[in-house]
């Protein structure tokens, strides 16, 4: 093992994580959650058009590979006159993808809140939207943290696909150094190690959030 190369490449790779992987993950996850919330509310709507559109969206996102979605946006859209840079393409593709998966998680969480909670919200005079926002979603949040954390952690790793559309993130840095030094095993293991550490940190954060949201539940 070439430990000099390990240490000398660690800096650029961490920089790739810091300037590429992490902001890409955060931006895509936040936007993805917003999309997911809208799609989840459409899915539970009594309006057939809204719920139908929501269902088709989820079906397309879950039924096609993320890499293909990424390529359609970056390499495909220019054919119809929409030319996007690597970063916006990546953020759009990843948020749309997270939106599809998280929508199902949020929908299930909303449906898991007992009907009596909707009724109590209406009883104190709240509209449907008020009840959803103040009574149902806070309770659904607790249920959806574990599965949403999984989506988040998957996203961290999926952002490595962005290297294929030229976004300078952790894995692309690893590829560049590897191509130059021909030390594939070392550099790809090093990249794997960094992904693993990021995910470990996230799992710890997940446990904390879950504890905090559990404060009003009997143990």
């Amino acid at each position: 093992m070439d430990f000099d190369l390990f240490w000398s490449s660690l800096g650029p790779m961490l920089l790739g994580a810091l300037k590429g992987t992490i902001p890409l993950t955060l931006a895509s996850f936040v936007l993805g959650l917003l999309i997911a919330l809208v799609i989840a509310v459409m899915r539970i709507s009594s309006n057939k058009v809204a719920s139908g559109v929501g269902r088709i969206y989820v079906s397309i996102i879950r039924g096609t590979p993320l890499l293909v979605q990424l390529f359609v946006i970056f390499y495909g859209l220019p054919a119809v006159g929409v030319k996007l840079d690597p970063w916006p393409s990546a953020i759009i593709a990843f948020s749309l993808n997270v939106g599809g998966y998280a929508a199902e998680i949020i929908r299930a969480a909303i449906l898991s809140v007992p009907r009596g909670q909707w009724e109590a919200g209406h009883m104190i005079g709240m509209s449907r939207n008020q009840t959803l926002l103040r009574i149902i979603l806070p309770q659904a949040a607790r249920v959806s943290v574990p599965p949403l954390s999984n989506t988040f952690i998957s996203l961290v790793k999926d952002t490595s696909l962005a290297s294929l559309i030229l976004v300078t993130e952790l894995f692309r840095v690893a590829q560049q150094v590897a191509a130059f030094s021909q030390e594939f095993m070392l550099l790809y293991l090093e990249a794997a190690l960094i992904y693993w550490v990021i995910c470990l940190i996230l799992s710890t954060a997940q446990t904390r959030v879950e504890k905090r949201l559990d404060r009003y539940v009997a143990h």
Binding site: G116, E119, A120, M123, I124, G125, R134, I135, P138, A218
Partner: protein, 266 residues
């Protein structure tokens, strides 16, 4: 009875779920300050009436009129359910107006588990009625004190016994300052030793002059508290009258059988 002193008038209320008819034209009049107990076997439609009064069910026919608040300029509110062609939005607005005048205490309490006791009580007055928070909190604390739960105001519902949760449920309803209090089997989910505390609170409210409709299986409680008892079966009112008469000397055979069975169970 003139419409002004009736807090609640129900006319010809009907409701079916698919082919199952649960209400077959119910009439009900409740003067201000009176307490009506709805009794009858399960499936007789008692709870459906209550839920219709709070807009949680939409009846297929008939009308509900709820009187105005004291000293308020607004008149009585009538919702006519016979008009099936009414647009969804307009119907939702009617149901919401109906809810504004009544408050319900649920069988399973339905407290908001993510809010403290105090937050549960002030949520409606502050968020919906947009009343000043400080004023609402002061009122809420006074009400909680009355039911002996002031020191629990920062507790979450899961930290309370069923009886305590139900008393919070009652306070949450009172804080809305409704014209009409609706109780849906308020003690039937409670352990027997917790029932009396809750019934005592309801009895106090009756003595104070609240207008109330109570669905209950507690016949002794109904006899002490209700001005009128309405016995229902199969979506119809079988017998109604003063509590002592209906419960002690029922005229109808079905009422006699029901009362006898419940008394013997005890």
């Amino acid at each position: 009875m003139s419409p002004t002193d009736a807090v609640l008038q129900v006319r010809g209320l009907g409701k079916s779920f698919g082919s199952n008819t649960v209400l077959r034209g119910i009439d009900l009049d409740i003067p201000r300050g009176k307490v009506v107990a709805l009794i009858g076997p399960s499936g007789s439609g008692k709870t459906t009436i209550l839920r219709s009064l709070n807009g949680l069910e939409t009846p297929d026919g008939g009308s509900v009129t709820v009187g105005a608040r004291d000293n308020s300029a607004e008149g009585p509110l009538t919702v006519d359910f016979g008009d099936a062609a009414l647009p969804k939005k307009a119907r939702a607005a009617q149901l919401s107006a109906l809810r504004d005048r009544s408050a319900m205490v649920f069988q399973h309490y339905n407290l908001f588990p993510h809010m403290t006791v105090l937050q549960n009580v002030i949520e409606g007055p502050v968020q919906v009625q947009k009343r000043p928070r400080a004023e609402v909190v002061a009122e809420a604390e006074k009400l909680l004190d009355r039911v002996g739960l002031l020191e629990k105001k920062d507790a979450y519902p899961f930290e309370l016994s069923g009886g305590q949760q139900q008393r919070v449920g009652i306070v949450r309803a009172l804080a809305l300052k409704p014209q009409l209090l609706l109780f849906d089997e308020p003690t039937s989910a409670l352990d027997p030793e917790l029932v009396d505390d809750v019934l005592a609170v309801i009895k106090e409210l009756a003595d104070e002059g609240w207008t109330m409709v109570i669905v209950t299986h507690e016949l002794a409680f109904a006899r002490q508290t209700a001005d009128e008892v309405v016995f229902m079966a199969d979506g119809l009112v079988v017998e109604r009258g003063p509590a002592s008469q209906v419960l002690r000397h029922p005229k109808e055979e079905r009422t006699q059988a029901f009362v006898r069975r419940l008394l013997h169970e005890i």
